[in-house]
Symmetry: none
Subunit: 422 residues, 2 copies
Amino acid sequence: MKNIRSGEILCVGTELLVGQIVNTNASWLARRLSLLGISSYYQTVVGDNPARMLEAMKVASSRSDLVVVTGGLGPTADDLTMSVAAKMAERKMQIHLPSREAISEIFRKMGRTEVTENNWKQAMMPEGAFVLPNNNGTAPGAVIEYSFEGREVTMILLPGPPSEMQPMFVDQAEPWIRQHVPTSFKHLFVRMIGIGESKAETMLLDLIDGQNNPTIAPYASEGEVIFRISQLFDKNDGDITKQPDLTAELLAEVRNRLGEFIYEVGDRKMPEVVKDMLHAQRKTISFAESCTAGLLSDAIAQYPGASEVFKGAIIAYDNDIKTNILNVSSDILTEYGAVSEQCAIAMATGCRDVMKTDLAISVTGIAGPDGGSEEKPLGTVWLAAASADGVVTRKLHLAGNRGRIRRVSALQALDLARRQLL
Amino acid sequence: MKNIRSGEILCVGTELLVGQIVNTNASWLARRLSLLGISSYYQTVVGDNPARMLEAMKVASSRSDLVVVTGGLGPTADDLTMSVAAKMAERKMQIHLPSREAISEIFRKMGRTEVTENNWKQAMMPEGAFVLPNNNGTAPGAVIEYSFEGREVTMILLPGPPSEMQPMFVDQAEPWIRQHVPTSFKHLFVRMIGIGESKAETMLLDLIDGQNNPTIAPYASEGEVIFRISQLFDKNDGDITKQPDLTAELLAEVRNRLGEFIYEVGDRKMPEVVKDMLHAQRKTISFAESCTAGLLSDAIAQYPGASEVFKGAIIAYDNDIKTNILNVSSDILTEYGAVSEQCAIAMATGCRDVMKTDLAISVTGIAGPDGGSEEKPLGTVWLAAASADGVVTRKLHLAGNRGRIRRVSALQALDLARRQLL
């Protein structure tokens, strides 16, 4: 039986090459392949051009066991992927009657009598292909097995629209793939805040260099640090369920060195962690936002069910709002300024009073590009958290542009909330 | 002088290969290249693996005049892109003193004394590279010119984080690229709201099919409709400045047919258009947000100088906030519910009173996934605008998930504000 160890993704579509749409298919499929335990070393995008498409398929076939192709299965003249795949696999195209039936059935349901030649084209399949019916559109997909340069290659062709591609992959392609994958992965995402990436990596360097399986490696992130611990399980080493899980040991060592900075081991991002802690403790939160101006509230409100823990926020962009609604005394503003520990404290306590929440978080800072001074440079941000236990503050010195300063301020404000809930 | 006609994008990052992040850099850069008049036929993603990275760079160099590389410029051990690029161009790596000083300056500003070896690594540059300073992070970019298989190739290396990559490309790489592109484009972006894309497309179909140069085509967008009018100027046809501008004529015809829906011809998005109108009229705005919970405020606050027109917002997620701070009478909430025209009106007028702004906009709706009913289905959203002239309302029936409903609600709320300022 064949062993699929490596796979790569080939996305077809001129709209991708000109940046009209973001290639979410690639990241979605990459995640699925990774979870299946298939190593993926390449992603490629080409336009609806048969020569370049065929070249890309050959390159992919020369280096990967599995080639997943999306896009170009539509009815229009420039949807050529299926016929190019047939050329790649040296197969004839032939009519696939069940697909032809399915297409006319769809048109019948839509009350459309005349089916154009274009649409029948979607029922043409490479000889010997394993056809994947499309339950959410007219274009069927296919699994084609062929050998190229002496290698056994499997190509899976899927439609471009995510609403058709995703169910076809999950329901039909994945069960087929699983039978041919000899490995599986376990991943742990270790999320930290309060330490720089280079500092964190220096403290784990021996683990990063020394480890083979499981491995640990840093992940791209903004304002926080993420490491991924991955263990590979191989069927060739016997029953996977009986192989020891070595991730816990490595995680323990990471906790040992950087535990104070770890806020999550898993997939939840900071806002979700805070939201869940509030849920678990049946507590409510509110925000007094100045420079973040809505980012903090949105970070929580993006999650369904947020309304159970998030009561609301005052975005006090103008000092009048700070005084009139948050009851920050004008003395504080004149004496210390809006970006000061005193103002952050007054905003948080004032917010907690008017919002009547267990916890209130305030953010006031200089996001720029203007407003910085010698004494309070660009990126100076004060945070405060008010609760029944009193008020705690945190001062930030952030680098980057206006956008980054605002986003990292919101992230740090959520971390301050989290620490009050520990 | 060299002629850059073709370009391709190479994104480096294992986090892309495992689908942990969506590759927005590729689509963003593809858009910019297309706007520059550079034809792009390939996009590639590889991991932080020097051999595969070098192979991908060679393949790209063998077929494209320009290779734009993002990612892998960070301080960690697996950030290898710059050194692999040096190998590709057959250059030595050497210390770049200005970058080294910039890095220590950043750390000084952040009040961090010890700079790790990792960070100094970011100051190592290929010999003869044109260095692109990073104003939003520690990793500088670079432009490297070399010849490969007898072709003149330019490689531009950029950091992976969009907040660092985008300004570096726009401010530093693009001016350099423009000098070497033999063609130039004039683009007009015609932004419309209040009409569906297919409807708009139907009304312009003859223009879309008939035109050759300039062309008009729909542009991907959410909750609005954007058409791009593009005219190609080629230096080979003589002095570009003397070639006639044909875009105005086409634009006039589009205005003729769809003028009532056009809110901008240019690059400004809806929030910026509203911000600028407020500036010009010396008026202030405030928001009462429920389901959008910060999106509306952030849309305005993201722009420098927003504080001159945006005073603040009340995010009244919980009904208590609607009554206590916005003074929405509890009768309205019990009789009509929070998602009602009456509540939207009360929120807007209440917000205008407490915020003391010329204009106040309210949003209240059902973003889901729960909360929908027979009478008020998911996606039901009420907007209100309160000004000295009184109150106007708008009802929306939005399709899509929680995220889309919230984003389009914010966009429509800004459009309602815009109409009050006309």
